[in-house]
Structure formats: structure tokens, C-alpha cells
Symmetry: C2
Subunit: 596 residues, 2 copies
């Protein structure tokens, strides 16, 4: 139906007749002539309609924004002085011979060229929102990224295998989406939180190298950057150690940034242990563009009398640390109060600080409510360890390490952004040597830091149960600019190790058999050593496209409440459907049904 996309109409076509199918971006009437700016997915071109073509002119008069038209016309140079250097087609225009209106358009609920349209309106009319060049760009970038990844993994000998979407509920930390079965009434499928066990079984099957770009599902209360369905680049390899997985994944990411963004990432990516990351940055996904670091003070504070610091330093899981902010001495009281409120979100009971104004004067050059509680040598040691200089501020955290880390780690990000300290560019880092387990305070038991199928570093299995706190996992994350873009591990490939890890997690032999019989079976029939990783595609595309939210890189995303404003899903269904599934609503549920 068309001969060219809009951007293809250039000086080369002058004198030629072209046929375009496109949207009317704008109509202007000027000097008795109508100008139509046509838009298709590739770009824009200007059409001129003269009154001496009465049929075409009548159609053009009828046109409004977002009408869909088919235009036949001759390409000519634009009059001198009216060229638009911004457009590939900016030196030419099309003199219309025929204009056919293929589709009419009502006035749009929001203008496409305006920033700051409310997101709910954008989501409700997503097909209009997707007409905005930025959204189209994001989704084309997403395709470019998946294409690059596929080509790379194909060439690396990985076999793309589809794993089931209707599968069995397995406890991987998050809540499952359930699907009632009609053929087994009273039973349920779960949508996969990841293809973890299936990819491990593919290794047991001898597939050797696997990948899949696939949807995963978590019924969680959504934070800003989460979606109930998200896409994972999933990789698994046999006969590998950590370095082998990294040797596959790292060039993939480096090549991706080179090909898609024309950017060179460091080669190799730096490595950092989990312990070092927590020590220096308070988080296990440090943004290395941010030069701020935490200074360890726990040992020092065991000797002071200042109770707040001393108690934290003495407590078994306590920590005292400070964050040095260069130039922060100029922060106002109101700004500091703001940060105090900010760290309270993470459980910090306060935010002690010292402004360093005149180092030469010793303690008297320090401005702070807490200086009086700390002896001069301790102050000197703090200044020395943190490298403080005149004009800096030091923020202190003293509490359980978890709280100190979260508070100062997040404060570091916040202050880094506020003061413009975060450098431009891309800073990847591998984080390694994660703990096997973390203590779940609510459930009062140990849970897996990664997942229960992650291999321990130690071959001394007994210590998994006797000293779970210090067991390290053969797990690794890839962090980019403070975002975990991927993570993985070497898996357990021996039944007795898997059973031992289950036991450490409080999963007894019966429960293990009930839930994981097929995995334990598989480990008894010749399971190769194997490991892999998974990348969050949405997050990766978000970062690479410079978007603020993953919703901007997903064609039809859900709201934070996991609803679809476009289709009004979820929705009530007929009782007949529930009856077939052997379920019904609980009393009172669905009385005041409320669509997204």
C-alpha cells in the first residue's frame, strides 16, 4: 500500500511519485495551501496540498490530527529557507495528488507532544502513549537488546529451550500466582518465579548450555521498579565454575553496550566481595559512580563512653560507621533534618553528624552536637580514617549492622544525587562471596540469600547447620550503577549437599520429598556440576534507555497495584467459570468489585 516510510523521502526522490501511509501529526493552513506533517514509525515528512487538486484538497481539509491517510504525490525540494535540518526528509516536501483518509480520529484524550501527562491516563490509552517517539524508541531498543543477546548466546552454543509457564508452586521467596486446574479439581498450577529447576534439569539431561528469554511472575506488593510479570535472560551451563559463567556473561554485556549504545565498559569488570561492599557502601549493589564511602568505626567505638555508639559497637551484630560527604559542611539544618527523616525510613533512630570546619583547630574546629561526647583521640582517629577535610560533613550510623548499612547505604545514594557527586558513565562490578543464608526475623528462621539450590563454598557440610551465619555461597551478582542487573550461582549437583542445605533451611526430609522429589531424584541419576545466571531484561533496558521506570520499557505494563488500566484486568468472571474450576469466592469477597 505504500512505497516509502516517511524518513525515506529525501532529495534522492525529487521528481519521483511516492505513496505514503501515515498519521497526520499536524495540519496547518497557510496562504490558501494546506500543509500536513505525516508521521510513521520511522519519521516525519511534509505534504503540501494545493487547492488546484480539489479532491485531495477536500480530503486534506477534512483531516485532523491522528487521522490515518494514504497520500500519493510527487517529491519536490522545499522552497529555499523552509528546509528543516532536523529531519532526514527536511529538504523536500510532497505535493499531494491523492489523499485517501483510511481512518478518522476523535480528539485525543491527551496531546502526544506534551510532557508530564499523568501516568494513569497514559496507561489507559497505552496505544496512544506508545505513539510518542520516546516510547517507540524504548521498545525498539528492547528488541535490539534481545536480538544482540540471542545472537551472542546462539553463537556461544547455548540452546534456547522453552520451559513451562503452568508449573508447580515452589518456595523461592516470593508469593506465587496460582492457576486453578479444571482437570484436577482442588489443585493449582503456579506461574514460575523463574525457570530455575527446569534449567537445572536440562543440565541433568545433558543439554550442556541453555538460555531462554522468558517471562517470570511474582505476586508481590509492587515497588516502583517491579512488575508482576517481568522478563529474564536466563542462562545455565554445565561443567563450569564461577569464572566460566562470568566469562560468558561479561563479554555479552560489554558487547551489548558497545553495539547498542556505542559505549565501552571496563574490561574486565572489577570484582568485590559482599563483605567489602557492605563495609564500604552499606549495600550489596554499590553505585560506583558515587565516590562516597563508609568508614568503619565499630572497633573504635568499643572504647568510648558515649552510650549510643558504645552499645551499637558492643552488640553482637552491631555496627558504627560514618559517611564522609565532601563539601557537606555547608548543608543547612533543614537539609540535615531532611536526611534524618530519610534514614528513619530504614529504621535509624537518628542521624548524628560532625561538620568539619577548621581541622587545624582540632576538636574546636568541629561543629556537632556529639563532639562533646567523644574524646579528642577518638575524634582524631575518625577524621583520619575518613580522610575528612575542611568543609566536609560526617554522618554517623550506630545500630544493628543491618540498619546502619541500609541507612547509610541509602543516604550515600541520596546525598550523592543531591550534591551532584555521581559521575556520568557506566560502572559495572561483580559482587561475590555472598552469605548462604540470612536470618528471617519475622519467620525466625534462616532463609536462602539467593535460593535453596545454590552451592555452598565449603565442602564441610556439617558447618551449614552448625554455623549457618558464616557459610558462604558460590553466588555472584552483576551490579551496574547501583542496580543489580543479573545474578547467579554455581548450583548444588549432589543429592546429599542439597539435603543438607534443605535441612539448614528447616526443610525436613518429608517436606523436601514432597516438594522437590523430582529434583532429588534427578541428582541421583548423573547430574553434572553446573551453574548459571539470570539477567533482568526490564531493568537492563530501563538503564540503557535512560528511563526512570521499567513501565516505560514494557509495552503494556501493570500499575503498582498489579492492574491493567487499558483492558481493565483483572475482572470479575462468570460463576460458571469458577464452578468448572471447583472454586468459589469467599463470603464477602467481590461484593464491591472495583476494577483497576
Amino acid at each position: 500500500m505504500r512505497s516509502h516510510y516517511c524518513h525515506q523521502v529525501t532529495e534522492q526522490q525529487i521528481g519521483e511519485s511516492v505513496t505514503l501511509c501515515a498519521w497526520v501529526q499536524r495540519r496547518r493552513d497557510h496562504g490558501g495551501v494546506i500543509f500536513l506533517d505525516l508521521r510513521d514509525r520511522e519519521g516525519l515528512v511534509q505534504v503540501v496540498v494545493d487547492p488546484d487538486r480539489p479532491a485531495a484538497f477536500a480530503s486534506a481539509e477534512d483531516c485532523r490530527s491522528e487521522f490515518v491517510v494514504r497520500v500519493v504525490g510527487k517529491v519536490r525540494a522545499r522552497p529555499a529557507g523552509t528546509e528543516n535540518p532536523q529531519l532526514p526528509s527536511g529538504k523536500v516536501e510532497i505535493l499531494a495528488e491523492e489523499i485517501e483518509i483510511l481512518s478518522r480520529a476523535d480528539a485525543l484524550p491527551f496531546p502526544l507532544d506534551e510532557e508530564g501527562i499523568g501516568e494513569n491516563l497514559r496507561l489507559q490509552y497505552r496505544y496512544l502513549d506508545l505513539r510518542r517517539p520516546q516510547m517507540l524508541h524504548n521498545l525498539r531498543l528492547r528488541h535490539q537488546i534481545t536480538r544482540h543477546v540471542r545472537n551472542y548466546l546462539d553463537a556461544a552454543g547455548c540452546i534456547d529451550v522453552e520451559t513451562p509457564v503452568l508449573t508447580r508452586s515452589t518456595p523461592e521467596g516470593a508469593r506465587d500466582y496460582l492457576v486453578p486446574s479444571r482437570t484436577y479439581p482442588g489443585e493449582f498450577f503456579a506461574l514460575p518465579q523463574s525457570p530455575q529447576l527446569f534449567k537445572q534439569l536440562l543440565m541433568v539431561a545433558g543439554f550442556d548450555r541453555y538460555y531462554q528469554i522468558t517471562k517470570c511472575f511474582r505476586d508481590e506488593d509492587l515497588r516502583a521498579d517491579r512488575q508482576p510479570e517481568f522478563t529474564q535472560i536466563d542462562i545455565e551451563l554445565s561443567f563450569v565454575e564461577e569464572k566460566d559463567v562470568m566469562a560468558l556473561a561479561e563479554p555479552m554485556i560489554r558487547g551489548l553496550f558497545r553495539d547498542v549504545l556505542q559505549t565501552e565498559l571496563p574490561d574486565p569488570f572489577p570484582h568485590m566481595t559482599y563483605g567489602e561492599a557492605m563495609q564500604r557502601f552499606g549495600v550489596d549493589r554499590p553505585d560506583l559512580r558515587n565516590p562516597l564511602e563508609l568508614t568503619e568505626l565499630t572497633d573504635l567505638m568499643r572504647s568510648v563512653e558515649f552510650k549510643v555508639f558504645r552499645a551499637a559497637a558492643d552488640a553482637p551484630h552491631g555496627r558504627v560507621a560514618c559517611l564522609r560527604v565532601p563539601g557537606g559542611a555547608s548543608l543547612s539544618r533543614a537539609q540535615i533534618d531532611g536526611y534524618t527523616e530519610f534514614v528513619a525510613i530504614y529504621g535509624a533512630k537518628g542521624l548524628a553528624w560532625i561538620k568539619v570546619n577548621d581541622l587545624a583547630s582540632g576538636a574546636s574546629g568541629l561543629q556537632s552536637p556529639i563532639v562533646k561526647f567523644l574524646p579528642e583521640p577518638v575524634l582524631q582517629e575518625i577524621l583520619q580514617r575518613s580522610g575528612a577535610e575542611d568543609g566536609d560533613i560526617l554522618f554517623f550510623g550506630a545500630d544493628r549492622a543491618k540498619i546502619v548499612n541500609e541507612a547509610l547505604g541509602n543516604l550515600r545514594n541520596r546525598v550523592g544525587t543531591d550534591l551532584g557527586l555521581v559521575q556520568a558513565g557506566w560502572k559495572p562490578v561483580w559482587i561475590t562471596d555472598f552469605p548462604m543464608f540470612e536470618f528471617d526475623e519475622k519467620e525466625e528462621r534462616w532463609s536462602s540469600t539467593h535460593h535453596p539450590f545454590t552451592a555452598p563454598q565449603s565442602t564441610d557440610l556439617a558447618t551449614l547447620r552448625t554455623d549457618p551465619e558464616h557459610a558462604l555461597a558460590r553466588a555472584y551478582d552483576l551490579v551496574l550503577n547501583g542496580n543489580e542487573i543479573g545474578g547467579g550461582s554455581i548450583r548444588i549437583h549432589r543429592e546429599e549437599v542439597q539435603k543438607e542445605v534443605f535441612a539448614a533451611l528447616g526443610i525436613g526430609p518429608e517436606e523436601a520429598q514432597d516438594k522437590f522429589a523430582f529434583l532429588l531424584d534427578a541428582l541421583r541419576f548423573g547430574a553434572p556440576p553446573h551453574g548459571g545466571m539470570a539477567f533482568g531484561l526490564d531493568r537492563l533496558v530501563m538503564l540503557m534507555s535512560g528511563s526512570d521506570t521499567i513501565r516505560d520499557v514494557i509495552a503494556f505494563p501493570k500499575t503498582q497495584k498489579a492492574g491493567c488500566l487499558l483492558t481493565a484486568a483483572p475482572s470479575p468472571v462468570a460463576d460458571r467459570q469458577l464452578q468448572e474450576l471447583g472454586i468459589r469466592l469467599r463470603p464477602g469477597v467481590g461484593d464491591g468489585l472495583q476494577n483497576p
Copy 2:
């Protein structure tokens, strides 16, 4: 951990030291020496273990079938006469220096090299079943196919866009899988039966050309070649007519067969209308490798007195036809009885037949229980129309056209196979001009032959309601060897047409608004003409791999009852989970829970 795959160890490596990681396919003890056949995903190689390497020898003695080992050794030529020309590695063997047992294996529940293992056992231990070379081959072929398709569609300018899996229930013929929402209690998502409406919305968004290889879901009672989750190659294009979609799809399939199977398909594919297909073959997906055809006799039988034929010929939707089977006169009575039972499955009340033994003798050369009911000129006309020759049999169908077509159409397939009449090779055909609607006798209303978003051929909208029976759709299927491998249509892009089609389907304005508000809205904001198609990937891979069932081209398929024997999904879940979702089991349901 390894230097080579097994098949890479060839004469080039003689004298080199290699390291392999593989499964022990077989162990043989021969003349004081141990031979291990090692297997990895690429092939086999033979390892020789001498007793003068005591550590390696001890490990080899320990080895059983399906142990996983790491072997270091030197490549040497096999002794003359012991080469295996079947294997790339067949001229060499590896003299083991080190053997490390990486993983042990219990005795397998079934031998990997035996045919005819019960499918349930194969599905329960799928990771072992997948070790069989044929299964690995099928899944690698599947990957090759998707890779070819992606490369082709990428190059054709189609944008790969992911559409939601958690979406809204839309009536597309089959039963939806439902997913209870936790955040909107009492409401449900549905898993998509296809991304149909989303891809149409992408066209409204101006994406112009789209594709996706994606999972779709139908909660149907499963026939042999269906799965509750299946994979679709989904394509949609803007500003196209039927021929444009075919011009994209046809070279894709032709290139696929050329690249993957080194086979040339016809260029171009033949076209046939739905009407012609039903007339000549009784089905809308004729296997053109089968030379048998139906002969139309309805008009002829309006003049006979034989009630069975006359009544069918006179009835408004009746049909009389025969199937000529060359050489079929030699069929035994028992064989004919078998076919009579076969057509009864499709509702035929009997299977009249005429054996043609001696044409020269006229009616007396015909052997049949029904000859006596038909006058000589009618018999002559039957023989002439069908082209019957001595030695043939004619099978008759007389009933409602639907029953005649199903009975004779299926009989045609069955007899063609039984008598070895089906030729080798690949016979694609486009089927076009489908009816818009078919009458659903159970529901007593018209339903869509394709789906409600298919454009009608006629621009006279009124006839959709006044004469739905004769309305033709802008729909097309691609049929290969009797299998529908793809289908599609030009879609409705104007609101008033969509409303008219909904009305013809008995979907009133309120119901349309309730279920399809977003589609009808979208059609009001500048929707381009568009169309597309979808291919069933599983079916395509099944055909291309020569498999008997789609379960053999899916890594982890479900049983016919939609259960997973490997993971025992679906499974009961904790009441706490149901409580969170606001649902519960109906009384009595789940009392005798029974896993797949």
C-alpha cells in the same frame, strides 16, 4: 573444565592431551582393559583405561552407566580394524591418564537406548528421556527454527514486542485459564489464548510491523496434538492486504525448509478457496500428498428414489458425495466394516459402497448392496464423474454436509494412509475465502470461524446480519500436508464494522462495551488498516522433525489430562494461599486429591 566435546576428538588430536566432561554411555571390560564410551550433547568417544594407571583404573572400575566423569588422556589412533566409521571420533580413542567421577548414577528407571518405553515413564523422568539423541535433536531443531524465524522477521523490519501473560478474559472460542488476583479480591486475570488484541493495539500505536514468539494458553480437553500451553509465532502488519501478509509469510516458511531441512517447497504455494477444499476434500486443511478426492453427487441424487440419498440431497444443508479409492475393490468385508465404524465417529449413519469390478459389463460389473436402488443412468454418471476404473471402490456419504465432509474427509486420510497412497514430500496450500461465521448448534447462535476481529470481505455491512451464512471473511490459513500450520486475517479497523460484526455474533452494544471498550476506543483514534497471522510453532517443529506428537518437541510437556508427571503439577496448595486470594474450594472438591 574441558578442552573438547566428544565429537571434536578426531585424528587431528592424535598425540594431544584432551580433557572431556561427559556421561558414561557404556562400560566394557575386555582383556584386562576397561573401555568407556563417553557421551556429551555433541557425540561419543571411546576411552581406554589400562591397569598400569591404577588410580584411573580404579575410578573406571567404579564407573557405571550414566556416571558423570572428567577424563584427561592422550588421543591415539584406534588399532586397525577397530575403527567405527559411524562416529566423527571413530578413528581414535583416548588413553586415560586421569578419571574423576563428578557424579554417580543409580540404575536408570528405563534404558535410554530402548524404543517403546511407556510415555508416562518418559514424562516422569523427562530429564532422562531428554538424554535420548532423538529428543535432543528435536529440541535443537526447534531452536534452529525459532532462530531462522527471528532472523527473517528482524530483517523484515518487524519489532519483537512482549505482550502480557496476565491479561483480561476475552471470548475467543476456548476456555480461559484464570488467575485469581490478590490485589483485586474476587477478580481474575486470564492467560492469553493469543496476543490478538494487543498486537492490534500495537498497530494502532503505529508500530507498523510486529512479531513475537510467545506462549498461548487454552484450557481445553486435550486431543493428541494439543497442549494447554503452546507457542505461537505471532505476526501483525499495518497497511496490508491478504497478499502482503502472504508475501511476508510464504518466503519465511520456504526459507525455513531450505535452511533447516535442505528442502525446496513450491514457489509460489498454491491457493484454494475454502469452498473448493470442502468440495474436493471434505476438510479445510487438505493433505495434498493424498491423491484421493471427493466427487459431488448432491445434484444427481435429487432425482433418485433411494431415500437415504434423496433425503440428504434435498435437505437445505445436505450433501451426497463419494470417495473413489483406486484399487479398493480388493478390500475385505472386515476392512469395509472397519471403515464404517470409523466414519461413525464423525456421525455417519453408515458407509454405502460400490466395488467396480468390470466396467465393460455396466451395472452388473458393480458389486454393492445399493446398486439395486440406483437407476443405470445415475450409476453411469457416478462412474463418469468419479472417474472410476476396474478395481476401485467408491465410498458414499449422504447426510448433512457437515457430517458427510467430516466422515469422507477423515476416511480419505485414513484410507490414503492404509493403502500407502500418500506421497512423500511437502505440499503446502493457502486456504482462502473462509466463511465469516459458523452456526454453533449447541449454543444455537452464529460464532466466528476465525475470531470476532476478522474483517468481512463485503463492504455491505447490512448483509452480515441478514445473511451471515454467506458472509466471507478476509481470512487465510496455511496448510501443510494436512496440518494447519498457520492462519490469519485482515482485521477490522473501523469501529462501525466491529460493532456490526459483534451484533451478528449476538454481542450487544452493552456487552461489547463491557468486554471490548478498549478495542472500540482504539478504533476511534486513528487505527490503520492491518492484518497478520500466527503459526503454531509446536506443530511446525513436529512436522519438520518427523515426530508423531507435539509432546516430542516440547521439553516439559503436559499429559492429555493437562498434568505434569515430572513435577506433579498441579498440586494442592495451603489454605493460607487461597485465603489471600479471596477464594476457597467448593464443598467436596479436593477431598480425594489425586496428583497427576
